[in-house]
């Protein structure tokens, strides 16, 4: 310790804490953005179909591999890779709904949930068969620039993740709030059958919902590839669960809830990692799930389950 007087020490300590807080906030925003993007898909699909799409985490993983293919094999460049990956993932989501979930629309929900688990395992094993079990390096789509301000460290990747996620979420929120398709999505969560009396093709709205959810999950897949630059066929399992927790914390079925839940879970995890042994991180996430289910099952933004007039 340098021969500082008391005041100097106090002053240094404060700015160190301040810097640490900003650093952790940036890390929390990055992780939270990724959780939020994935959580939106869980929440929207649950909103319209009352289905927990347990394959959603694996769609996120497939999104990573699709992006890897577009970026490395086709050499598309960053903007085109993102757009093409979103389109391909949207197509995959629509296809899965069409083949696996639509025939079970009026079946008991437990059948659909088991199907969703099956679809998820299929996606994992299919990817495993195609690309093999070795983790693969994800390319740097953007020139990676490290920024350091007064001890705070961030990067072009981190800032891109935070800002682009925010832009996508605001766009989605406006779509859901302002367009008639968005109104139809919300109306479906109130009553699936009545919506057709308004002239709305329910199947089309369900397809759009899946397309939006899976394309956002694929963007999250790209972000994870950029931030932690290794991907593997099982990366969707734990991240998928965490995003599901985020959706439940926010109130599953609610778009804004999923966003808030993602950021809340991101912040809690970063705080846990910073202050506790890192092995506690997942345990804390699941403890939060159990706690929320116990005390506020509808989440922070969810409406109570009973909704029929």
């Amino acid at each position: 310790m340098p021969m500082n007087g008391y005041y100097g020490f106090y002053h240094d300590n404060l700015t160190r804490r301040g810097r640490l807080m900003i650093q952790q906030a940036l890390n929390a925003l990055q992780l939270g953005s990724i959780y939020a993007l994935i959580a939106l898909g869980y929440s929207m699909v649950y909103g319209v179909l009352r289905l927990i799409n347990f394959a959603h985490g694996d769609i996120f993983m497939v999104g990573s591999y699709i992006a890897l293919y577009f970026a490395v094999k086709l050499n598309l460049g960053a903007p085109l890779t993102v757009l093409a990956t979103m389109a391909a993932a949207a197509f995959l989501g629509v296809l899965i709904e069409r083949i696996a979930y639509r025939p079970l629309r009026s079946a008991p929900r437990v059948s659909a949930v088991i199907t969703a688990l099956g679809v998820g395992i299929f996606l994992e094993t299919f990817t495993l068969a195609v690309v093999g079990p070795q983790p693969q390096a994800f390319p740097e789509l953007l020139p990676k620039i490290i920024y350091k301000f007064d001890g705070i460290r961030t990067s072009s990747t981190q800032l891109t993740i935070i800002l682009l996620s925010f832009v996508l979420m605001v766009a989605l929120d406006q779509f859901v709030q302002r367009t008639r398709t968005g109104m139809a999505m919300r109306a479906l969560s109130w009553d699936l059958h009545l919506v057709s009396l308004m002239g709305v093709d329910i199947d089309r709205i369900v397809s759009i919902t899946f397309a939006l959810g899976t394309s956002l999950a694929a963007v999250a897949g790209i972000f994870v590839g950029l931030a932690y630059p290794v991907i593997d066929p099982y990366m969707g399992i734990m991240v998928g669960w965490k995003a599901f927790i985020a959706a439940v914390v926010g109130g599953i079925g609610s778009v804004r809830g999923a966003m808030a839940g993602g950021y809340i879970l991101g912040a809690i995890e970063i705080l846990a990692v910073a202050n506790l042994p890192s092995t506690y991180r997942d345990m804390i996430a699941f403890a939060i799930l159990l706690f929320i289910l116990l005390v506020k099952p509808s989440g922070f933004f969810g409406s109570p389950v009973s909704k029929k007039v």
């Binding site: 008639r180 109104m183 139809a184 919300r186 109306a187 969560s189 109130w190 009553d191 059958h193 009545l194 919506v195 057709s196 009396l197 308004m198 002239g199 709305v200 093709d201 329910i202 409406s303 909704k307 007039v309």
Partner: protein, 239 residues
């Protein structure tokens, strides 16, 4: 009678093993108000749901304006001009009043016309204008019924299927709702009405059909049915 706008023939419908409708046949001519009366469980709502394709019939034909409705999906009926105001009104409680009205224009893109129709709904139901940005769960039962009828207006319906529009409303609101049904009919809408309030319904209808246990047991002009002793005893509360 003119060529009927809606013609239903030999409609048969079941919920699992339970037959809800046996051979139900009826027709509605353009410009008419026709009522289906009957007790709870007689099959009135099932008939409307079959017409609007919410329930698949086991047998029978439903022809509207030359189109075979049994070949269409529910959302395609709007394009033909059929609006169904379901029992319990079918308001989306998580949407605002404005959003409920806009959702009903899902298949339209004539924004001038849509805005004009919203104005028309508000001039018919001024109370809805005050509540335009409110969540529709905050509406009273009468206001919800106004919103449900308003949505049908937004669809520019030629045929209105109204399921128990007076249910749960105070007498003064029942009168108001029936007044508006007559008004819409004068403006050109054909109406197929299902009502337990047979007295009011028969007053505004030209013709009626009486449903009992999934069968049509009686039909005639509304005026005749109001005079019929059986009907008076069973549905109009006479001893």
């Amino acid at each position: 009678m003119n060529q009927p706008l809606l013609q239903v023939d030999g409609l048969k419908l079941a919920y699992g093993q339970i037959i809800a409708l046996h051979e139900v046949s009826f027709e509605v001519a353009k410009g008419e108000i026709v009522t289906l009366i009957g007790a709870n469980g007689a099959g009135k709502s099932s008939t409307l749901r079959a017409v609007s394709r919410l329930l698949p019939p086991l047998a029978g034909t439903i022809v509207f304006d030359g189109h075979d409705l049994t070949k269409l999906a529910p959302h395609e009926l709007i394009g033909l001009g059929i609006a169904h105001v379901p029992e319990g009104r079918g308001i989306f409680g998580n949407l605002t009043v404005r959003e409920n009205l806009l959702l009903a224009t899902f298949q339209r893109n004539d924004w001038d016309g849509i805005n004009a129709d919203i104005e028309r709904v508000f001039s018919l139901f001024p109370r809805l204008r005050e509540r335009i940005e409110q969540s529709s769960t905050t509406l009273s039962g009468g206001e919800q019924q106004m919103l449900a009828v308003g949505r049908a207006l937004m669809m520019r319906a030629k045929l209105l299927l109204l399921d128990e529009p007076s249910m749960g409303l105070a007498p003064i609101l029942v009168k108001e709702i029936f007044r508006i049904i007559v008004e819409l009919n004068k403006q050109g809408a054909t109406v197929l009405l299902v009502e337990q309030n047979a007295n009011m319904a028969l007053k505004i209808s030209q013709r009626a059909y009486v449903l009992e246990n999934g069968r049509i047991v009686k039909t005639g002009s509304a005026a005749d049915l109001r005079q019929s002793p059986d009907i008076r005893k069973a549905y109009l509360g006479d001893d």
